[in-house]
Structure formats: C-alpha cells, structure tokens
C-alpha cells in the first residue's frame, strides 16, 4: 500500500526557528545571520562592525565553525559576550544549535545578536535560525562569477556585503557586472561595499547605520519576519 506523507524534511528545523524568532521578538532583540565562504572576511567585518555599533547597541555574538574557538577569541577581544559553536564537521548552523546556546546570553539586556554561520556559500541558506536579517559577505577576491554559480545563497539574502574593496585596483574582478548579476538574481537585495583593512576602512558607517536603523524599526514594531 501507499501512504501520502507530504511532510517537509526541514519542518523540525523550521519549528525550532519559529520558537527562536518568538523568543527574540519577546526580548526585542534584532538578529543577523551572517553567511559567506571561508575567508570572505566575515569575522573581520564583525570586529569592525562591533566597534562601529557598540555605542548604539548592546551586541552579543555567536560564532559557528567546524573546529577551534579562534573566532570567538577574536570577538571576545572586542569586549562583547560571545559563544562559539563547533559543528564537528557540520556544514551549517541549525536552529537547534542556536536554541541551545542563546540561554547563555542576557537577552533582555541585548539589542543585537550577530550569528556568524559556518563558512560555506551553499548549505547555510537552507536553514532558518530565527533571524531577522540574512547578510551575505562576498569578498571581491572570490571573483564576479560567484552569484551565478551559487545563486540560492544570493536569493535567500536580504543584504550582501562586497568586502575587500581595498584590493579592487589589484584584481580583475568586474564589480559592476558582479552587482548586476546579484540584482538579476535578487532585485530586493541591499548591496554594501566595504574594506575592513586597518588604515583602509571603507563603507563601515553606511552598513552600521543600516543595521542600527533596521534594529530601531524592529523595536518600534515596524518590521516582522516569519
């Protein structure tokens, strides 16, 4: 005999993500899921963002990596609470991992939770964590063909940060066609250009202002996701 099941394989993750989202909403907490390839500059971007934002928001950070606590140590040096998740080979963070660790933060006293996903341009996009905003970091050293080759990550993102712009003059990457390709995949996506290199910082004020605005809109009850 044959039975119809029609049950989503991500239903368990999606249910936990909905619980996370409800918890974050109840604490008026704005959350960002930061995705991108290994080496795109996600952690360095976080370090710069925290410096830029810490006067406007109380920040907490979750770091996701296969192994080591190196990123968490870097973030802890910025003087914000941080929890490292090691996935032991897992290619993405899931909602359950987030649910387990958020209890370690004083959420009522936190305005902004930054979640750095495992470096991977494919899998993290499929797993909702309960975030308000999905931010994709793409360094221009990765080449202008990446949106076309990894389109689902760009479709799933709200914001894309084109990082390492300080290297633009040394590379053949055509940033104009890169931006056109990203917009062809996702016309709603908001694009920022940054350099996180000390002495060549670029674009950090604009990105920080966008995040602080989005955070305030949520606190005023004007945006809601999920």
């Amino acid at each position: 005999m044959k039975i119809d099941v029609k049950q989503d394989l991500l239903s368990l993750n999606n249910a936990v993500a909905a619980e996370n989202r409800a918890l974050f909403n109840s604490k008026n907490l704005f959350t960002i899921n930061i995705m991108g390839s290994p080496g795109a500059g996600k952690t360095t971007l976080l370090e710069r963002l925290i410096t830029q934002i810490c006067n406007d928001a109380v920040v907490a950070v979750i770091e996701g990596d296969l192994a080591t606590a190196r990123d968490a140590q870097r973030i802890a040096a910025c003087d914000v609470p941080v929890i490292q998740i090691n996935t032991d080979g897992g290619c993405h963070l899931d909602a359950e991992m987030i649910a387990k660790v958020v209890k370690g933060f004083d959420l009522a006293q936190t305005d902004l939770l930054l979640i750095e996903n495992v470096g991977n341009l494919v899998c993290p996009a499929a797993f909702d964590l309960g975030e308000d905003l999905r931010m994709l970091v793409l360094s221009i050293t990765e080449g202008e063909d990446k949106p076309g080759k990894y389109p689902t990550a760009f479709m799933a993102a709200d914001v894309v940060v084109l990082n390492k712009m300080d290297l633009k003059d040394y590379l053949d990457t055509d940033t104009e066609s890169l931006i056109a390709d990203i917009l062809a995949i996702n016309h709603n996506i908001k694009i920022f250009s940054t350099s996180c290199r000390v002495g060549k910082l670029e674009g950090m004020e604009d990105l920080a202002a966008y995040i602080v605005d989005a955070m305030r809109l949520k606190k005023q009850g004007k945006i809601k996701r999920g």
Partner: protein
C-alpha cells in the same frame, strides 16, 4: 552537503508515519525537492544508503526535483523555471516574487503490510 542531516529527518518522519502499520517491507520512498533547496540527488541517495537501517534499507528512493514557481512583478505572469536568474516567460523581466522552490519533503511511502 547537508543531505545527511535531511536524510536523518526523512527517516524519523518515515518511521513516525509508519508507526500505525504492520510493515514487512518498504518498496519505495518518494522525495520532492524544489530547485532552490540545493539538494544533490546522488548525495541524498548516498546518505540514504549510509543511514537507512531495517526496514528502510533496500527500499528505492525516488527523488524528483521541482522547478521554481514565480510571479513576475512587471507583468504578473506566473511561470516555472529550473534556472536562476529567473526570467519571465512572457516579458523577460528578472523581477519576481518566488512562490515555491525551497521545499524538500517526503511525499509518499509505498510498502507491504503483514
């Protein structure tokens, strides 16, 4: 490469769905995956072979990849596509609202009962 975690979920959903039946053999499980779900059918089959225990081991795994369905925000046409960027079949615009394509679900199970 998140097919292994999806397969674990599939097997637990299948187990739950069959709990009221006296199963002697599972013939086929049918999975449907939207184009945006980034599922590699071969990787999902490999995960099935690695993880499936009795009574699932040996069953056939049917995987159908479903197209993205979208509504053009310029001309309103609803269309299907396997390709990204989306291109409206009527007016050629890239600007669209995605209606489906991210889903991955266990559609049905075919089995023999005692």
């Amino acid at each position: 490469m998140h097919e292994a975690s999806l397969m674990e979920n599939l097997l637990s959903i299948a187990q739950e769905s069959l709990s009221g039946y006296n199963v002697i053999k599972i013939n086929c499980m049918s999975v449907k995956a939207g184009r945006l779900a980034n599922i590699l059918p071969d990787a999902l089959r490999f995960a099935f072979q690695s993880l499936a225990a009795e009574p699932f081991a040996g069953a056939r795994l049917e995987i159908e990849v479903l197209p993205i369905t979208a509504r053009c925000l310029d001309c309103g046409t609803e269309y299907q596509s396997m390709n990204i960027p989306l291109v409206c079949s009527h007016c050629g615009s890239n600007v669209a609202e995605i209606l489906s394509g991210s889903e991955v679900y266990l559609d049905s199970i075919d089995f023999d009962e005692k």
